[in-house]
């Protein structure tokens, strides 16, 4: 009882330590002090979750049963790390640029962001990994029991309490706490990774400690140890080539396809460069882990009574020698192996389940992110937490149902074989542009069905009737699960792996060749396969009529308002726009989609954007982009491109120059035509009436006077027009001589009112503001001319019943502002931009002017260094004259 109590205490202390480590790492990362968290060593240690309880306990058992075959489990990953690091680098690069969140996301993104494929892979992973998780629970329970064997009360305690259940609950809590802190699955879980790194050190240390004790403490040194090995069954072991290669391949494949390995290899990766360190450091770690496996197995077989479970030798050998401390350490090593695997595996699986199963259903139910009723962020996090619960519950129930009897290594290998089915779709997707969604889907299903039929079902709990296993279904011999197509006498595992992977790959290739990929698939295919040639420019959307605002609302629900607002603002700024709403360019949409996919996965993010963009997933432009890309790869020539760019630029400049000249010429023609019209019109009246007067036969005296006065008025109009034209020409050419004098603004306004004859006119003029305090130093006559014009305009055009003009003077930020606001109907918005154009007249009525007054006024204000503009929204017509600070001072 004593030992077990201490064990439980140590165990709880250890868990508390892990919590502490994870918590501190999170804190450090939050405060930006976490540089040491981003070291390649932490990365390498985190990869050690490959070594689960299966490796820790099971390898010794494996060696005791099957000799050196256990080495293959270490050999596969080592070969991948050393020989295939470039494939890993490609995967890491793809994962980072495309913001991939899981294996399912990788495969679905590659094949046109297919939701179906994501669901399919997620289910495969769930089925494949559940036994594996239950294996970890089993090993922890077993190791507890090993301690309890010597202790009757302890045994009763173990029997009374369901250890596996408590372990499962504890792991679920830890994972939820540190695995779902951030929504963005693409963000690193520093706490989890750090805790795993610590566990990696503990398990290596524990195994080496037991090994050292066995070799030097029990066997008496290296020499005697080697002799013992030679003498044992293991020494007599004969290599089975088929199994050896098969298992090496299988473990290599599993290393690439296991969701938890993908999680630490790709998702948690901080820096591609870390792979370089891990390429040699991780195989070294594996080598150290395997170093003492054989000695422990050999000594265990000698020391322990026949029938003792070799899977527990790491624990039972020290216990049997009274080395409780060492056994405790060994227990912690195994505990570490089991917990780290379960934590990472459940993070990886829960990401897949929530992103590819829960979220799509939620989005469908609530009809899309933009119109959803609640904050989707909470839903995503909740979905992920519930998924963790589901994954661990499944693992626990599998453990309960399977009874925990099967050898550890066997469960591990079955899992490996299941996940290895992802290999063709995954590697094909990364290296072969011709791979298609249909091919991947068909291959996966084929492989998985065969795996289930040949391996999973016969292996566990009588999934298949004995008759089917022995005689084949309906007595068809060549369909026997262990002898497909009549190939007999093969190892069942090898047989299943060979057939499932072979047919999987064949179907994948054939269907890929036979089916035509959708444009989006081809695009993603190019992105993945050529990731190193052109990173960072996925173009999956084209313009269209996306509602940037809808996108923003939707994104806010997922990523949170602050982050989305700054993202949208930055994107708008990148496009040269102010505010928060960028144009929905393909570029922007692709980046937005990538941001979103970090949180909810590629397929879902794509679906959400698609919902807002209005279904048109792939446009002609996308197709062109694919075609362009291909062409570029075939005959890429940067020189040619540079030349072509230069030509394009020159052509653009020429075109601009030509446009400008044409415009000027058109303007000149229009101006001449206008002048002609304006001069000829009064001239017509003058000529017609003068001819009437000349032929004066029988004109009444009163007509005579009237016609003479019309001639007179038209002559004056003509003169004024000529004056205006001359004035404008002088002003426009800048040849005007300004007569700079000093005077108060009040005087200028008074002068203008008088000159406009305002006292004689029905228009009432009201003055507001401190005009008499303001001393001006400018051309007072020209300024008065502007004021006169504005007052005269009000007199002519103000259509109020009791017309009134307010002249209001203000000082504002160093400028003098004079507003002329009347109470008429004002100027229509579409005309406001035109009124300062030459010859433009607002009204159809003949109010006398040629439409040059405001054009002249604006020129004058230009010359004076001020401005004249129309002030909208004042009720009536409103003009604002503003003068710069240099031209006024407070009156003395």
């Amino acid at each position: 009882m004593g030992t077990l109590n201490i064990l439980i205490a140590v165990c709880l202390a250890y868990v508390a330590l892990l919590f502490g480590v994870a918590f501190m790492a999170e804190r450090a990362a939050l405060k930006g002090r976490g540089n040491w968290l981003r070291s390649p060593w932490i990365y390498t240690l985190s990869l050690s979750i490959y070594c689960t309880a299966w490796t820790f306990y099971g390898a010794v058992g494996y060696a005791a049963r099957s000799g050196l075959e256990f080495v293959t489990i270490y050999l596969g990953p080592s070969l991948v790390m050393v020989g295939w690091w470039w494939a890993l680098r490609k995967m890491v690069r793809i994962g980072r640029t495309q913001r991939i969140t899981s294996v399912a996301d990788l495969i679905s993104s590659r094949y046109g962001k297919s939701g179906l494929l994501a669901v399919c892979v997620t289910l495969l992973a769930l089925i494949g990994i559940t036994p594996y998780i239950s294996l970890q629970l089993q090993s922890v329970t077993l190791s507890f029991s090993s301690f309890a064997v010597s202790d009757a009360e302890g045994a009763a305690l173990i029997a009374a309490h369901d250890t596996a259940l408590w372990v499962a609950i504890g792991l679920a809590l830890f994972t939820i706490l540190f695995g779902t802190r951030n929504l963005d699955a693409n963000e690193r879980h520093h706490g989890v990774v750090m805790a795993i790194a610590v566990e990696a050190v503990v398990k290596l240390f524990a195994l080496i400690a037991v090994g050292v004790f066995v070799v030097w403490g029990l066997a008496g040194g290296i020499g005697p140890m080697l002799e013992r090995i030679d003498a044992s069954e293991i020494g007599a072991w004969q290599m089975d080539r088929g199994r050896w290669f098969g298992l090496t391949f299988l473990s290599a494949a599993a290393f690439l396809t296991l969701p938890r390995m993908f999680q630490v290899l790709v998702v948690e990766n901080e820096d591609e460069g870390h792979l370089r360190t891990a390429a040699w450091a991780f195989p070294t770690y594996l080598f150290l882990m395997s170093l003492f496996v054989v000695p422990i197995a050999v000594v265990g077989l000698e020391l322990m009574p026949a029938g003792a479970n070799p899977d527990q030798f790491v624990l039972t050998v020290p216990l049997s020698q009274g080395q409780d401390g060492l056994a405790m350490l060994s227990f912690l090593g195994g505990f570490s192996s089991a917990t780290s695997m379960v934590i990472v595996a459940s993070i990886a699986l829960s990401t897949m389940v929530s992103n590819h199963i829960v979220m799509p259903i939620f989005l469908r139910v609530t009809r899309g992110g933009a119109s959803g009723p609640s904050d989707v962020r909470h839903v995503v996090i909740l979905a992920r937490r519930i998924s963790i619960g589901i994954v661990l519950t499944l693992g626990y129930f599998y453990y309960k149902i399977s009874g925990g009897g099967t050898a550890l290594a066997a469960i591990g290998l079955v899992s490996f074989a299941g996940l290895a089915q992802l290999l063709p779709a995954m590697m094909g997707g990364i290296f072969w542009r011709g791979a298609t969604r249909n091919g991947a889907f068909a291959g996966l299903v084929t492989g998985f069905v065969l795996w289930a039929y040949c391996l999973l079902l016969p292996q566990f709990g009588g999934g298949l009737p004995v008759a089917v296993v022995e005689q084949g279904p309906w007595g068809i011999g060549w369909l026997r699960p262990h002898a497909l197509f009549g190939i007999q006498g093969m190892d069942p595992l090898l047989h299943a792996v060979m057939w499932s992977l072979l047919l999987n790959a064949t179907v994948f290739v054939l269907v890929s060749i036979a089916s035509f990929p959708s444009p989006l698939e081809r695009l993603q295919g190019a992105q993945f396969v050529n990731i190193f040639e052109h990173s960072n420019n996925p173009q999956s959307w084209s313009g269209g009529v996306a509602q940037s605002e809808d996108l923003m609302i939707m994104a806010q629900r997922i990523l949170g308002p602050a982050e989305v607002q700054s993202f949208f603002q930055a994107e708008a700024a990148r496009q040269g726009l102010a505010g928060f709403l960028p144009e929905p360019t393909p570029d922007f949409l692709a980046r937005l989609e990538r941001e979103l996919s970090g949180a909810v996965g590629g397929a879902t993010a794509h679906a959400m954007v698609a919902q807002i963009m209005g279904a048109a997933t792939v446009s002609v432009e996308d197709l062109l982009a694919v075609a362009d890309e291909t062409a570029q790869m075939m005959e890429y020539s940067s020189q040619l491109e540079a030349k072509s760019n230069e030509l394009t630029r020159t052509a653009r400049q020429l075109r601009a120059a030509n446009d400008k000249l044409t415009k000027l010429s058109v303007q000149k023609d229009a101006f001449l035509s206008q002048i002609s019209h304006e001069l000829r019109t009064p001239m017509t009246s003058i000529r017609a009436f003068s001819e009437i007067l000349r032929d004066a036969d029988g004109l009444k005296a009163q007509d005579l006077t009237r016609y003479a006065s019309i001639i007179h008025a038209e002559a004056i109009r003509l003169t004024r027009l000529l004056d205006d034209l001359l004035d404008l020409s002088v002003l426009e050419n800048g040849q005007v001589n300004l007569n700079i004098r000093e005077g108060t603004l009040a005087d200028v306004i008074s002068h203008a009112i008088a000159a406009a004859g305002a006292d004689m006119h029905p228009l009432k003029v009201r003055r507001i503001g401190p005009a008499s305090d303001i001393m001006l130093r400018t051309d007072l006559d020209r300024l008065a001319q502007v004021f006169i014009n504005l007052i005269a305009n009000a007199q002519k055009y103000c259509d109020a019943e009791r017309p009134e003009l307010v002249i209001e003077v203000n000082r504002r930020s160093g400028r003098i502002i004079v507003d002329f606001i009347d109470n008429g109907t004002g100027i229509a918005p579409d005309a406001q931009g035109m009124i300062f154009e030459k010859f433009y007249r607002v009204s159809d009525r003949q109010a006398g002017g040629a439409g040059l007054g405001l054009a002249i006024c604006r020129e004058i204000m230009d010359r004076l260094g001020g401005t004249l503009g129309y002030l909208p929204g004042q009720g009536g017509a409103a003009f604002r004259v503003s003068l710069p600070v240099a031209q006024w001072m407070a009156a003395r």
Binding site: S676, H677, R680, T681, M683, T684, R687, A688, E691, I692
Partner: protein, 122 residues
């Protein structure tokens, strides 16, 4: 019965001058001063002859004339076009629109009378 002429022109002084000389010559003169509803005014009043300005408020004389020529009732109606824009292009536009005669402002009173009489004689 006096021949009826409709003057479509927006300058009041020019309307007054033309009205005077034509009345003196024995025409019955009617006037209209904007382009919006010129076509329907012509149809309603059915004059023997129209004097049409080019730059009218609301609608250009070319457009009005084009419309008139498309209507059966007015497709052969004599129309004298007056314009203050005396470029060659303006004359072409007037001919294209279907003007019976084209005169540039300012004009001689005698020429207008002569042109009108020639048009009704045709």
């Amino acid at each position: 019965m006096a021949r009826r002429v409709l003057i479509i022109e927006d300058e009041p002084n020019i309307i007054e001058a033309i009205s005077f000389i034509l009345t003196r010559d024995g025409w019955q003169v009617d006037t209209h001063s904007n382009g919006h509803d010129a076509v329907s005014v012509v149809q309603a009043r059915a004059p023997d002859l129209v004097i049409l300005d080019v730059m009218l408020p609301g609608r250009s004389g070319y457009d009005i004339l084009t419309d008139l020529r498309a209507l059966p009732a007015t497709q052969d109606l004599p129309v004298l076009m007056l314009t203050a824009r005396g470029q060659a292009r303006d004359r072409e536009l007037a001919e294209k629109a279907g003007a019976s005669r084209f005169m540039t402002k300012p004009f001689s009173n005698a020429d207008v009378i002569e042109a009108l009489n020639a048009l009704v004689a045709e």
